[in-house]
């Protein structure tokens, strides 16, 4: 059965094929029946217990096909099964008892989908695809739990519950990784077989380079520069705080200059994005509760996040608790206060004392900003504010780069194809810098460009704003903000 679990987590192209052939009897039965409406004999719903993909969501799909050309896995494969319309039909088939929850093709599709939500953003009939995929993945995972090997379950537990469940442990592991990276020990871990023992060869290779100083939320309070417009809660994040800590610090500075008092309550934790996308909604709910409580106790006006992937999960806390009336209301109230940093700055206005950055910049749209949160103009507006900076659009700027949480671990081949596609599109603009707003994208695009032999740098929009302030301050002789 370990094999079956593998099919969900790696690419089962080889196995996915003959196994699920429609039986002779089924074909015969469908031949004439299909001439009229395909009304299947009702069979048992293949989803059980909590977190069932809601039928009013999949039944809304009228199969118009508009989402197909926006779907990264469809444009790469040109196969309907790897398209949003196909996946929705498969989820419906499982719900109607027409397809086994653990059939190889179904598990593969639930895993191959990037959860990038491009399909959801264009759907005129309003199919909320994320509300189908996450429960469907959770269902597959639950069913597989008993069938996965004990070591794999243990590693999965470590990764999803222990690592992302606790920021202190996250920092500890990151610190070890930092040491390994600085001492050049990756090769040792790989060769000695230590990495393989835990099935973590890929993880060690793909891990981001850690920052020297981490961002640790310890109930800090940073005063607003000038008149105070708002008090904001800064979510430091997990990957952001360890691998991209400078961006967190830059976020604090830019927010201060925009007139915000910035709080970093120690009670905050991981947002749960990685966990929920990987199909563990229970663990996600535990993380969500912690953040909701931390925010309620902080008294801040807004909950600010500088990672698009986390932002979309935070904004969807309401959905996470739709089966829990007590927490649902609190989650909805919380979600209404969550703002992506670019959205927030565009809304309240920034300090306009920006210095010149002479550069041509292209913008890679994080899926969870453009599709899940539908934020397209704010990041561009901020970039255009920087004097000297020219924004050039790349082709397919909103097509997923293939990063998508732990996707590069679960679907390495598709992830790489999308990474190469993105790098080519970015490089073709001739820009010297690619701006983005999510750490996952930043890593992926950087890796893609490096492989492409491109010198282009990849920066978070906040880093560019922060640099622009530094340049401006220096040219005016004002000391940089602490």
């Amino acid at each position: 059965m370990d094999e079956q679990a593998d099919a969900f987590e790696s690419h089962p192209e080889a196995r996915y094929g003959g196994a699920g052939r429609m039986s002779d009897a089924t074909v015969a039965a469908h031949e004439e029946a299909a001439a009229t409406l395909a009304d299947f004999a009702p069979a048992a719903n293949g989803f059980t217990g909590r977190d069932i993909p809601p039928d009013d969501v999949f039944n809304r799909c009228v199969r118009c096909g508009l989402c197909l050309p926006t779907c990264p896995t469809y444009v790469e494969t040109m196969v309907e099964t790897s398209s949003p319309r196909g996946r929705i039909a498969l989820i419906k088939s499982v719900a109607e008892g027409q397809l086994d929850l653990l059939s190889p093709g179904f598990m593969h599709q639930m895993s191959e989908c990037l959860d990038c939500r491009a399909c959801e953003a264009v759907c005129p009939s309003g199919v909320e695809y994320g509300k189908l995929l996450e429960p469907a993945r959770t269902q597959v995972n639950r069913a597989l739990e008993q069938e996965r090997g004990p070591i794999k379950n243990f590693v999965r537990h470590l990764l999803l519950h222990v690592l992302f469940g606790n920021l202190a442990i996250m920092r500890l592991v990151s610190r070890v990784l930092w040491l390994v990276q600085r001492l050049g020990l990756q090769a040792f871990a790989q060769k000695s077989g230590l990495a393989r023992l835990f099935g973590m060869e890929k993880m060690i290779d793909l891990a981001p380079r850690m920052s020297d100083t981490f961002f640790v939320a310890r109930d800090q309070r940073w005063e607003a520069t000038g008149a105070k417009k708002a008090t904001v809660f800064l979510h430091g994040g997990c990957i952001m705080a360890t691998a991209f800590a400078e961006i967190d610090f830059a976020t604090v500075r830019v927010l201060q200059r925009a007139g915000c008092e910035v709080l970093a309550p120690a009670a905050q934790g991981c947002c749960g994005a990685i966990t929920v996308h990987a199909g563990d909604m229970d663990a996600g709910r535990e993380l969500a509760k912690r953040n909701i409580e931390a925010f309620e106790q902080s008294g801040a006006d807004y909950y600010i996040i500088n990672a698009a992937g986390c932002g979309s999960t935070l904004k969807e806390y309401g959905h996470l608790f739709h089966e829990d009336p007590q927490w649902h209301a609190r989650a909805v109230r919380f979600a209404a206060k969550v703002r992506d940093i670019t959205e927030f700055l565009d809304e309240i206005g920034i300090d306009e004392n920006l210095g010149r950055i002479e550069a041509t910049v292209t913008y890679q749209e994080p899926c969870h900003l453009v599709h899940a949160q539908r934020i397209t103009q704010a990041p561009r507006n901020l970039l255009r504010k920087i004097p000297g900076l020219t924004l050039v659009e790349m082709d397919e700027s909103s097509l997923c780069c293939g990063s998508a949480g732990i996707y590069n671990l679960t679907q390495p081949e598709m992830s790489q194809r999308l990474m190469e596609r993105k790098a080519k599109n970015a490089a073709a603009t001739g820009a010297s810098c690619c701006a983005t707003a999510n750490p996952g994208c930043q890593l992926q695009v950087q890796a893609g460009l490096r492989r492409e032999g491109s010198e282009m740098s990849v920066r978070h929009i906040i880093e560019l704003l922060d640099e622009s302030y530094r340049v401006g301050d220096a040219s005016r002789g004002t000391p940089a903000t602490p």
Partner: protein
């Protein structure tokens, strides 16, 4: 006639030999479940999906199918609104989407040569980057391919001025049901050598062969376009306005209608500030080579619309605003699913003088059967899309839907119109075809079909009615 037995292993082996590339022959249950639907609610299942990349491969597959008496259903993007690509007798679905290259854009002859899997919008973008223009613009231009457009003889908003797909098909390469590859027509403007087979294959809904290449006529892109929205308190006034505009000899490139229900569904998705409290709007587009002429024509149109009772005529300020309006227009059909779980989309086409009468008829039918039937469509050319909203799992409602659909068809024919302007007959309208064409004509078509497809393998079960006529119509 057809071998309905399960797919024999040697057929599968032979398909794999013809198509050696990865994921080119699909027979897993998960794949079969998603290759048998389109934009209607009909569903069928193939026994295997074949994804060829060349005309030769298509020909080999069709020869194999003909020998084995297996059904062949050609498929492009599956956006059809008539059940066309739904496989009825199992068999092979030939998915043409990997044949998606634009082979040539000939700027001297104003011609594009394309494979059938090229998406309409991609072709438009490619030719427009060279100052050229491919007018057919179905609302599904982003999710439909040239093969599907030619097979359905697709229309669009700009048909009013520029004509339908058939007006742009200069030549086709087709794999016949017996497996031969033929070319009909080409880059020449005039051509009367033999029967006009390219006209026959255009709009044949994949029942006479598989299109493997198309030579399409291009125009020069008119540099100026204006879009305006006229708001009406009564939908019949809006319909009357269209008749008046057309009889005044004005030549807008598009006139589209949306009624109140349509507007409210679209508004939910696109947030354009449409006047949802009014009964109808018309969208006008005017294009041309000279700014002054385009401005003048829009002026005259606005004037006429006001005289016909428009409460307000708003000209889009810039390209962004007009693009937003047209994007919303293209989203109507799926957006209607926001109101009720299902929709039955009709596609009647009538002489333009009869538009007000048809609009009244649809409203009366909706009232009679207590159904919501939003009306929208390419009203300028007389092509209306009454969409019957319903829950198809409610048997009583479904019965009313069937009766209403039937009356809408009958009303269209009574207005001197026809069942389908652009979506094709497919499954949805086949029981009504004799009502429109008469049995002698349907019989003539049947003879053509049998002559070209003696074993009845090519997209079986479409266009031609089942025994029992209209009374056998069921949803």
């Amino acid at each position: 006639m057809l071998d309905t037995a399960p797919l024999p292993a040697h057929v599968l082996d032979e398909l794999r030999r013809i198509l050696p590339r990865p994921r080119a022959v699909l027979d897993a249950r998960e794949d079969l479940l998603v290759y048998g639907y389109d934009g209607t609610w009909y569903e069928g299942f193939p026994q295997v999906v074949a994804i060829p990349e060349s005309a030769e491969q298509v020909a080999e597959i069709v020869r194999l199918a003909n020998r084995e008496r297996l059904a062949v259903t050609p498929r492009a993007m599956g956006s059809s609104l008539s059940g066309g690509p739904v496989p009825l007798r199992g068999g092979i679905v030939i998915d043409t989407k990997r044949m998606n290259r634009i082979l040539e854009i000939d700027e001297v002859n104003f011609v594009a040569v394309v494979q059938p899997g090229v998406i309409n919008a991609d072709l438009q973008k490619a030719v427009e980057s060279r100052g050229l223009f491919y007018p057919p613009d179905p609302s599904s231009m982003r999710q439909s391919a040239i093969g599907g457009n030619v097979a359905e003889n697709a229309g669009g908003s700009r048909c009013l001025k520029y004509g339908v797909t058939a007006d742009y098909v200069m030549g086709l390469q087709v794999v016949l049901p017996t497996g031969e590859i033929i070319r009909t027509g080409g880059k020449m403007v005039k051509n009367v050598t033999g029967y006009n087979l390219r006209a026959l294959f255009t709009g044949a809904e994949g029942t006479l062969g598989v299109i493997t290449e198309a030579t399409l006529r291009l125009l020069k892109k008119p540099p100026f376009t204006l879009t305006a929205m006229a708001v009406f308190a009564s939908i019949v006034d809006a319909a009357q306005c269209v008749t008046e505009v057309m009889s005044a000899g004005l030549t807008p490139c598009a006139i589209e209608m949306m009624d109140d229900v349509t507007m409210s569904c679209v508004e939910e998705m696109f947030h354009l500030g449409l006047p949802v409290e009014r009964e109808a709007i018309l969208l006008f587009a005017v294009d041309g080579n000279h700014r002054a002429i385009v401005d003048g024509e829009m002026e005259a149109l606005s004037e006429l619309a006001r005289k016909a009772g428009a409460l307000e005529v708003r000209v889009a300020a810039d390209e962004a605003e007009s693009n937003a309006l047209w994007q919303a227009r293209r989203g109507i059909s799926p957006a209607l699913a926001r109101k009720r779980p299902n929709k039955l989309g009709e596609d009647v086409s009538i002489p333009r003088s009869e538009i007000p009468r048809m609009v009244r008829a649809v409203r009366a039918i909706a009232a009679k059967y207590a159904l919501t039937i939003p009306l929208f469509g390419h009203v300028g050319d007389g092509n209306l899309h009454p969409n019957i909203l319903c829950d198809r799992h409610d048997p009583q409602e479904l019965e009313r839907v069937g009766a209403a659909a039937r009356e809408i068809f009958e009303a269209a024919v009574a207005c001197g119109g026809t069942l389908s302007g652009e979506h094709g007959i497919g499954l949805l309208k086949k029981q009504f075809i004799e009502l429109d064409l008469g049995s002698a004509q349907v019989e003539a078509m049947r003879r053509i079909k049998t002559a070209l497809d003696p074993n009845g393998i090519m997209n079986p079960g479409k266009i031609f009615p089942e025994p029992g006529g209209i009374d056998a119509f069921k949803l």
